[in-house]
């Protein structure tokens, strides 16, 4: 690393200023505000607030509703992450082997990536629509009366499918470039050393894809946790009563629909802590087993 000496001691701070100000204004300040608000009971009409200590946290954690949403979020996040990574990997491995018309094939698979998230949610709603949705008609053949917005599990199913569908192309692009980054001669050496293509995949290709996979794992958990907000919002059709929602959506519901800013802030603080712990665990445990070249 080259060492640069500045004439004035102010110059480095000046250069860092834009980045630091963005972090402070858009992250640290709101986070601090959320922490502060989590200790107060806000008047719904904005007439003042009362300090209540840890009451908001106690209320949140002990409510049965919160536990239910937390469980759903955990299941939903695991499913979306696992399915979107798994499907993308399968597609990427197959696309990597296509010799003829491979660019068309790859373009078609990446196409969804260009679809904006709200549009994706809207397409999801159309596909699962009670009256015109082709998926509803299709599963009806097997006797499944798919009813999103009404049936808890049906909505959860639609939510998972839409979220996975939206995320697969991103993962696909990364996995494909990861696969193409694996030395061809290493794969050839493996084909001489090991007859079974399946075994070769799990012993050579997959470990070499691990850096890509690790990166995508973090991206996907974050996606399932936070970025699925739009999909959840459109699919529950503003009627969250009996429908599955994620923790992030519940923050919005309680804060802006329930006007419980203190409770909602407490939930945000719990989420922040959760993400922090998750990140530490991921880097500590998984990165140690990943081989960066």
């Amino acid at each position: 690393m080259k060492k640069v000496l500045f004439q004035s001691r102010l110059v480095p701070y000046l250069l860092l200023f834009p980045q630091l100000s963005i972090v402070i204004v858009f992250f640290l300040w709101p986070a601090a505000e959320a922490v502060r608000a989590s200790f107060y009971l806000e008047d719904p009409f904005g007439f003042g607030s009362t300090f209540v200590g840890f009451d908001n946290f106690v209320d949140t954690v002990t409510s049965t509703d919160y536990g239910r949403v937390a469980r759903f979020t955990a299941v939903f996040t695991s499913l979306v992450t696992f399915l979107s990574l798994g499907l993308a990997l399968l597609l990427a491995v197959k696309a990597d082997k296509v010799l003829r018309g491979s660019s068309t094939y790859k373009t078609l698979l990446m196409w969804v990536y260009a679809v904006a998230p709200p549009v994706a949610g809207l397409i999801g709603v159309l596909l699962f629509d009670q009256h015109v949705g082709p998926i509803v008609d299709f599963v009806a053949i097997f006797g499944w009366n798919l009813n999103i917005g009404v049936d808890y599990y049906d909505t959860a199913f639609a939510m998972t499918v839409t979220a996975v569908w939206k995320q697969v192309p991103v993962n696909f692009i990364f996995f494909l470039s990861g696969l193409q980054g694996i030395s061809k001669s290493v794969q050839e050496a493996a084909s001489i050393d090991c007859r079974s293509g399946f075994r070769r995949f799990w012993t050579v290709t997959f470990p070499l894809l691990a850096p890509t996979g690790f990166f995508l794992l973090i991206i996907n958990i974050t996606y399932a946790f936070f970025d699925t907000f739009g999909i959840v919002d459109i699919l529950v059709k503003n009627e969250p009563g009996n429908n599955p929602v994620t923790l992030v959506y519940k923050v919005y519901l309680d804060g802006f629909r329930g006007n419980d800013l203190g409770g909602s802030s407490a939930q945000s603080v719990i989420l922040m802590a959760l993400v922090f712990i998750l990140t530490v665990i991921q880097f500590r445990l998984i990165e140690r087993r990943v081989h960066y070249n």
């Binding site: 290493v186 007859r195 050579v204």
Partner: protein, 357 residues
């Protein structure tokens, strides 16, 4: 250990590009064969077809008595050493060596015995626990060799294994590969574009050009009697001098210019004359036998010897003469060169094929 037989092997890419044009050769058990030629001559393609990494368009490849055209690479009983070593970056050296054996369901203690034995031979025992990225180029090369020998295969295939090493290490590894192959006695096919590597390693050389075999033979036979101007120019450094000549009063002289007189041994009107740089001898006065008269352009000392670049009067191609490292010649100096008749090579002007034996 086994023989390898190629029968009219062809490789066509995409129905148009013919990379290998009907190659037939019988490789004996334990023989060290070197495929040599410039890039794009089809040598790597041919090796990869033997390995099973490329399909065979037409023809037949046999390893031992078994036709392997449709046999999976893992089942051909061959081991390959790649140019960039192709070690598994996520595995330790030990596992790199053991991987192929584990996949064949070999017993653990037998794997351990073989890996330790290979590590001993190649002197890599100290870094069996390391990952490939913690090794130097030469050490990686040894691991790649180790991965091949633990398999105890019917044949070794080498795809330019030394071209990523520096010059000193290349010479050292070249000697080691040869010694190893001799002591193991495993049939080997080695691809290189380096004629020196080819000469030093091979029991028999196969010189390839544009997908065709130009010549097969022991290195010294190929050197002494190149079958074509291509082989003459490719094997030997500096390359053989090739001069276009025509019949002139009882002998052969340069087509353009003067200063050369050699006997017309095969009664040609026009042909190419070949003389190796070491077969041109600087003499004090015009000899009676075959001779040339040239003017010195440049003297290039390389240490053990020097190369003298000189040209004929009235034009004609520049020639190279190998002289002793202590010879002193100034640019512009006129020289008489004597040539022994047995050191003359004649090639057809059009086809470049050797005339006579």
């Amino acid at each position: 250990m086994a023989t390898i037989t190629l029968d009219q092997v062809r490789k066509v890419y995409g129905g148009v590009v013919e990379a290998v044009k009907g190659v037939s050769v019988d490789i004996a058990d334990g023989e060290f064969i070197v495929l040599v030629g410039p890039s794009g001559c089809g040598k790597s393609t041919l090796l990869r077809m033997i390995a099973g990494l490329e399909d065979i368009t037409t023809g037949e490849i046999k390893i031992g008595d078994r036709v392997v055209n449709n046999v999976d690479p893992a089942d051909r009983d061959i081991a390959m050493v790649f140019q960039n070593y192709a070690l598994y970056p996520h595995m330790s050296v030990y596992n790199n060596l053991a991987y192929g054996l584990k996949n064949r369901g070999m017993a653990k203690d037998e794997i351990d015995r073989r890996v330790k034995e290979a590590a001993r031979i190649l002197e890599i025992g100290d870094y069996l626990d390391r990952k490939p990225r913690a090794l130097s180029g030469g050490q990686r090369q040894r691991v790649a060799m180790g991965r091949a020998i633990v398999r105890e295969p019917a044949a070794f295939l080498f795809d330019e294994p030394l071209s990523n090493l520096d010059a000193k290490l290349r010479v050292q590894m070249r000697v080691e590969i040869k010694r190893l192959q001799r002591s193991l006695g495993t049939t080997s096919v080695y691809v290189t574009h380096d004629q020196l590597e080819a000469m030093t390693l091979a029991d028999r050389l196969i010189v390839l050009n544009g997908g065709n075999i130009e010549q097969i033979g022991a290195p010294i036979d190929v050197y002494d009697k190149p079958a074509s101007t291509f082989v003459a120019g490719f094997i030997g450094s500096p390359a053989m001098n090739l001069l276009p000549v025509k019949a002139v009063d009882g002998g052969l002289g340069l087509e353009t210019g003067s200063g050369l007189s050699v006997p017309n041994l095969h009664g040609q009107d026009k042909c190419l004359l070949g003389v190796r740089p070491e077969h041109l001898e600087v003499v004090d006065q015009l000899p009676n036998g075959p001779h040339a008269q040239v003017t010195v352009n440049v003297l290039e000392p390389v240490g053990a010897e020097s190369y003298l670049y000189a040209s004929f009067e009235n034009g004609g191609p520049e020639i190279v003469i190998r002289v002793s490292s202590h010879a002193v010649h100034k640019p512009g100096e006129k020289l008489f060169l004597g040539i022994k008749p047995e050191n003359l090579h004649f090639f057809e002007s059009q086809s470049g094929k050797r005339i006579g034996d």
